[in-house]
């Protein structure tokens, strides 16, 4: 298989043979949890003193004690450290509980002859049978496995994928592409009704940067590469993509393309659809790609848009040319405290109107502000804690902010130093008009940290009867306040109606701004003590919340995608004709439903 990094080996084109960072393992489960989020060595737990600690050495929070978490946790959820619900199965997967694989012998034989690595080991299969929806993780913790792939293959390059797809078509085998496994839309779930042999196509070995073109500022990358590796490798040559979805530690380039991902810093770098210059995808009908790399084309509907968001239903994305940028000279976090959420939204709207949004600007509501506050690690010096107290006093007593109403915006500026400082001033000036007070870099940075550790926190909650999840939408500006209020209230109402004994955590943040609207992110979690089927209750509430989102003018999804979780609303979302269009594409590209994950349509 050709490991030649492109034929145009020029001065400005680098290539990276034989890289082997973390996630290049065939068996990711060796360093990652199979029934929870992230690295096996990183997790929250309550120590003997009842203080929360974060293990490992990978994150800024690692090895630190978080003194405020216990109180926040107990008071927010009515939970107690006395009431534990550890995962009912041991950290080691019991492979006898997994259904034996249904193998298509002829397919396996022919595939073996190509030399492409494959496995039908139970651990490998279970690991690739799920994303990170609550019900998926909950089932794993209880040791319950539904339909799992019958086999896993690890293509090493585009040509391997071509061979696999050809064989799958020949032998009528169902293929499910697997990138980072961070899906939260049930996209990776094997359709239980699927009778054919299901093969999980793990793209993790296709992880090379094939070339970098400094003249055009593009890089040609294999689609299996994981976000953090891509960024790190590019950084080594002084570049970055700037694409940083919250899942970037684990999610893959191909996955971003297949779900229309969005990155935290999209204000500077754009979302995936803005970053992609060229895509190669292997489908049952053959390979689809454009003939040139022109920055924009008027050649009928953009075929890239059939690929982006296709969620693995049409083929496997194998290689992507994407824009790169020189690494920013200077980065600065920041934060602003507003007296209330309304003022904060008004400020974000104004920032968007003036088109001066920093690389990232996020507005957390009061509950999320308190959540973030609870995650403050133990301060080492009396001086810092004194300073914190002073800050608090200044904001609540001197400025008269109600601690139960105030909210905070976190900011991230990037660029050359002078411009960043100028930009920073502009944004703070706007914020001041809406009663915003600058609240320091620390608060800002901690806000962003929250997004990386939130998924670990869910695992902690699940040890103590607390389950939860996040979901998102995009909505026009004039609807932002209404949708936040109504969806949060709906969650609380539904929990009550469904018999949840404790008041839930129902919180949101405005997480992206656009010219014509914003992306809103909701967190929802509750204590399920006393419920016989908590996951079902959870799903009913999430369903109701989505209905509420749609009734308030929100979209079905901003970047998580549809998968199987939100399929039922697709028709209303894109109209009957729209569905017909997508279906006819599917029918042409994949008439035998080889890519049979049944997402989207």
């Amino acid at each position: 298989c050709g490991r030649q990094p492109g034929s145009i080996v020029g001065v400005h084109v680098h290539c990276y043979p034989n890289l082997c960072p973390y996630l290049f393992f065939f068996h990711r489960q060796e360093i990652m949890k199979w029934n929870g989020w992230g690295y096996s060595d990183s997790r929250f737990f309550f120590n003997k003193k009842g203080q929360a600690e974060f293990t490992g050495r990978r994150y800024r929070l690692s090895g630190l004690i978080i003194p405020g978490l216990k109180d926040w946790f107990e008071s927010t959820f009515g939970a107690s450290l006395q009431h534990k619900t550890p995962a009912t199965v041991s950290p080691i997967l019991n492979s006898s509980a997994v259904q034996p694989p249904t193998l298509n012998e002829a397919f396996v034989e022919e595939l073996k002859s190509t030399g492409i690595p494959l496995s039908h080991d139970a651990e490998d299969r279970v690991f690739r049978a799920h994303g990170h929806c609550l019900h998926e993780i909950f089932a794993l913790r209880e040791g319950k496995f539904g339909r799992v792939p019958d086999m896993v293959v690890w293509p090493n390059c585009h040509n391997d994928v071509v061979k696999i797809v050809e064989l799958a078509c020949k032998h009528n085998v169902c293929l499910i592409p697997y990138g980072g496994g961070t899906s939260v839309s049930s996209a990776l779930e094997c359709p239980p009704e699927e009778t054919r042999s299901i093969v999980s196509l793990d793209t993790s070995q296709m992880n090379r940067i094939l070339w970098i073109d400094e003249k055009n500022l593009t890089a040609h990358v294999e689609a299996g590469i994981v976000g953090q590796d891509l960024e790190r490798l590019l950084n080594e040559s002084g570049y970055c993509t700037g694409h940083e979805p919250d899942s970037m530690e684990f999610s893959s380039l191909g996955g971003w393309v297949a779900t229309r991902a969005s990155g935290m810093k999209k204000n500077v770098y754009g979302n995936i659809e803005d970053l992609v210059v060229h895509v190669k995808m292997v489908t049952p009908q053959g390979v689809i790609e454009k003939s040139c790399q022109g920055p924009r084309m008027s050649t009928g509907p953009d075929v890239h848009h059939f690929i982006m968001g296709s969620e693995g239903t049409l083929g496997v994305v194998t290689e992507v040319t994407m824009k790169i940028r020189p690494m920013p000279e200077y980065q600065k976090y920041g934060s602003v405290v507003f007296p209330n959420f309304e003022q904060g939204v008004a400020c974000l709207r104004e920032v968007a109107r003036q088109r001066c949004a920093p690389a990232s600007i996020r507005l957390m509501d009061n509950e999320q502000f308190k959540f973030g506050h609870a995650l403050k690690p133990q301060v080492s010096s009396i001086f810092t804690s004194f300073l914190d107290g002073l800050k608090k006093f200044y904001i609540t007593k001197f400025k008269g902010f109600d601690p139960n109403r105030l909210c905070v915006a976190t900011l991230l500026f990037e660029g050359d130093r002078e411009k960043v400082l100028q930009h920073e001033k502009q944004v703070y000036d706007i914020a001041a008009k809406f009663g915003g007070l600058a609240a320091g870099e620390d608060n800002g940075q901690r806000g962003y940290m929250l997004t990386f550790v939130i998924a670990y926190l869910r695992d902690l909650g699940m040890d103590y009867y607390v389950i939860g999840e996040s979901f998102e939408t995009s909505v026009p500006w004039d609807r932002v306040l209404d949708i936040c209020r109504n969806v949060k209230a709906r969650i609380i109402r539904e929990c009550k109606d469904k018999g949840v004994q404790f008041s839930p955590l129902s919180t949101c943040r405005v997480t992206q701004t656009y010219d014509a609207g914003a992306c809103v992110y909701f967190y929802f979690a509750f204590n399920y003590r006393g419920l016989s089927d908590p996951v079902h209750v959870y799903e009913q509430v999430e369903h109701a919340a989505r209905e509420e989102i749609l009734a308030n003018g929100g979209s079905l999804s901003h970047h998580h995608g549809v998968g199987k979780l939100r399929k039922e609303w697709m028709r209303d979302t894109i109209s009957k004709v729209g569905m017909g269009m997508l279906k006819s594409v599917k029918d042409y590209v994949d008439p035998n439903n080889i890519f049979g994950n049944r997402n989207l349509l």
Binding site: D482, A551, D572
Partner: protein, 662 residues
């Protein structure tokens, strides 16, 4: 579970507490000046009445309409803006606590003189308090008297609840001083009709929505639109309900609580006034001095008032699975749009449900039953050409029978069970001395005993009698909603060509349709109403259903007789209106001329003995029947003129004629 749903007996209602009791035992002044700290809406951002006005004038909604008006009329923007400000100025309330305190003091004095008690269900108050805290609240009291909204504010003040802002008709404002006083106690004034006036509508609806959305105060208005002169609930008006539901439908608030309030007066202050008005006998112009003809009114006993705060109804739950809120996604929400068909029917259905909820919680006094019996007896004796009176014992016996029947039908009847029935009857009668006379153990309606050959013309005498009869009818009408559905069934059985269930249903459905301007009959609920009526009549042993055939039982005849007689005046009334339109209406009859003309026609018929129900003289009934005939297509309106279609073309028309012939 089916029977549970149908059985009105299973309704649970709260107990009452008399709020005047405390007033009789402690200082009114201290009460008026006491510390008042109401529970407010949890998301309220406090603002003054003046800030409210500028919020309205600066709203996107209003700015859009002002722009539109400018384009259409060519007027300058600031001119239109000024006009909008003037409209708002004319409309807006100036709620202030001091005025409320003034009213708290004076009304305490007045109420104690006029009424024996003002009874309020405290659990309802607690529910309301909770509702006010949670969501914007709309108060929907029934409307039988001018007293209603002062009474409402008085009660809310008494219980430390947020004082409402009240939509009131402009006619109040004409009363200079009273108008301003009411304004300062929370009333805002709206013109009775402003059909095409876009700007007026925009100011008005935005004003109401702003107050509601911000939780400034509970918004109060009368679903029935105006005081019911007949004490029947009026078919609901949808304008304001549309406005208060809009913020929910457009997602501007999470929910809105609608609270139906049933105010029942044992004796209505305006009793005789209403009867005169319905008869077209000139009434004193609404003026400050006329509102209380102080001395006379104050010296009388008006019994007690019962105010029942119903279960708050969530607009969100009403709209669930009914309205697709996504329909507002594609056009900016501040651009006014006519509500679509689905919204209209949703609001209409909700309005009927709410009026039904008002009806269900109306407290009925024994007198209401007595009035029904006395009226029926009056007419029966009239037909038999006997003296129109009744032995007190007999009345008591019948009243006890009717008491039990109405309770089985789920009436919210306050019958004094601690005294003997005869005592209960006579004390009820004594409160209504002006309407009934008792002499030598016999009861009759209190007609003026004119000398046989005095100067009074027969027409004048008829009208004098009619005042008494319509007054009595207004009390009977309070019980109509209890008996309505069974009465429609009884009449249907009476008129249907056979006792086959389907035949009877058809007949029921026709009558129900015919009377849907007259009574509160929820649109589209024919089958449900029919089933409820069947259920009640069968359950009480008046009716049996054997293989799709209705059989009236031995004891059922009394019930069915009573029920048909209850509806008969209305049937006769509709027939006589038909007859008028066929026989007497000249071409080019305008709507304005209709009532005087039909009245004349009816008087002629009564005086010549061709018609026995004096209450048919009620202009309310005449207008309702015209509206029904218009709706059914038997009559057409051409440029303001009322014309009759050819009678033979209309099924309903034929039917009414046949019915009359039989």
């Amino acid at each position: 579970s089916d029977s549970k749903y149908l059985d009105p007996m299973l309704k649970k209602r709260d107990d009452f507490e008399d709020i005047l009791e405390e007033r009789r035992n402690s200082s009114d002044l201290r009460y008026a000046l006491r510390c008042y700290i109401p529970v407010l809406y949890k998301e309220l951002t406090p603002c003054k009445a003046s800030e409210l006005k500028s919020m309205v004038l600066q709203s996107d909604q209003l700015r859009y309409v002002i722009n539109q008006v400018c384009k259409e009329t060519g007027m300058a923007a600031d001119e239109v803006q000024a006009e909008a400000a003037a409209i708002l100025e004319e409309m807006a309330h100036r709620l202030q606590l001091s005025t409320i305190r003034f009213f708290a003091f004076t009304l305490s004095k007045v109420f104690k003189t006029l009424f024996r008690s003002i009874c309020v269900n405290e659990e309802g108050i607690q529910r309301l308090q909770q509702a006010i805290h949670e969501h914007p609240v709309v108060l929907l009291p029934s409307h039988r008297s001018y007293m209603d909204f002062l009474l409402m504010s008085y009660i809310l003040y008494t219980y430390d609840l947020a004082l409402p802002v009240i939509a009131a008709g402009m006619d109040f404002m004409a009363m200079k001083f009273v108008g301003e006083m009411l304004r300062m106690s929370g009333a805002f004034f709206i013109r009775r009709s402003f059909g095409g006036d876009k700007l007026y509508w925009a100011v008005f609806s935005e004003y109401v929505k702003t107050m509601l959305k911000n939780g400034f105060a509970p918004v109060e208005f009368f679903l029935e639109g105006t005081r019911s002169r007949t004490c029947k609930s009026l078919t609901p008006k949808l304008g304001l309900l549309n406005i208060v539901m809009d913020p929910f439908l457009k997602g501007e608030v999470f929910d809105v609580s609608l609270v139906p309030v049933s105010i029942s007066y044992e004796r209505i202050l305006e009793e005789a006034l209403y009867a005169r008005e319905l008869l077209g006998v000139p009434k004193p112009k609404e003026s400050t001095s006329g509102l209380f003809k102080a001395r006379k009114v104050l010296s009388e006993d008006y019994g007690s008032i019962h105010v029942y705060f119903g279960q708050p109804v969530s607009v969100r739950s009403l709209a669930q699975n009914r309205v697709d809120r996504c329909q507002f996604n594609l056009i900016p929400r501040h651009i006014p749009r006519k509500p679509g068909e689905d919204i209209h029917s949703f609001v209409n259905d909700s309005a009927y449900r709410l009026v039904r909820a008002q009806e269900e919680n109306m407290v009925l006094k024994p007198w209401v039953l007595l009035a029904s019996l006395l009226l029926q007896n009056h007419h029966q004796m009239q037909v038999a050409e006997q003296k129109q009176e009744m032995a007190l014992d007999e009345l008591t016996e019948q009243a006890v029978w009717l008491r039990d029947l109405s309770r089985q039908y789920g009436a919210f009847l306050h019958w004094p069970d601690h005294v003997s029935p005869s005592e209960a009857v006579s004390s009820s009668l004594s409160l209504h001395r002006g309407l009934v006379r008792i002499s030598e153990g016999r009861v009759q309606l209190a007609f003026e005993q004119g000398e046989p050959c005095s100067t009074v013309t027969p027409e004048e005498e008829l009208l004098n009698q009619a005042v008494i009869i319509l007054s009595c009818a207004s009390y009977r009408n309070q019980a109509l909603h209890i008996f309505l559905r069974p009465a429609l069934l009884a009449s249907a059985i009476h008129t249907a060509s056979s006792s086959n269930k389907q035949e009877v249903y058809n007949s029921f459905s026709f009558l129900r349709n015919m009377f849907s301007n007259e009574f509160i009959l929820c649109p589209g609920a024919t089958v449900q109403d029919f089933e409820e009526a069947c259920y009640l009549l069968v359950k009480t042993g008046a009716l049996q259903i054997n293989q799709q055939e209705f059989v009236v039982t031995e004891r059922g005849h009394r019930t069915l007789g009573f029920l048909t007689r209850m509806l008969d005046p209305f049937l006769q009334g509709y027939q006589v209106v038909c007859r008028f339109l066929c026989e007497d209406a000249t071409e080019g009859l305008t709507e304005k001329q209709f009532v005087p003309a039909v009245r004349k026609f009816i008087i002629r018929h009564i005086l010549t003995g061709r018609l026995r129900y004096t209450e048919v003289l009620s202009s309310d009934l005449q207008k309702n029947s015209l509206a029904a005939l218009l709706r059914l297509g038997a009559v057409q309106k051409l440029k303001g003129y009322v014309g009759v279609c050819h009678p033979c073309t209309s099924v309903c028309f034929d039917w009414l004629r046949q019915k009359q012939a039989s």
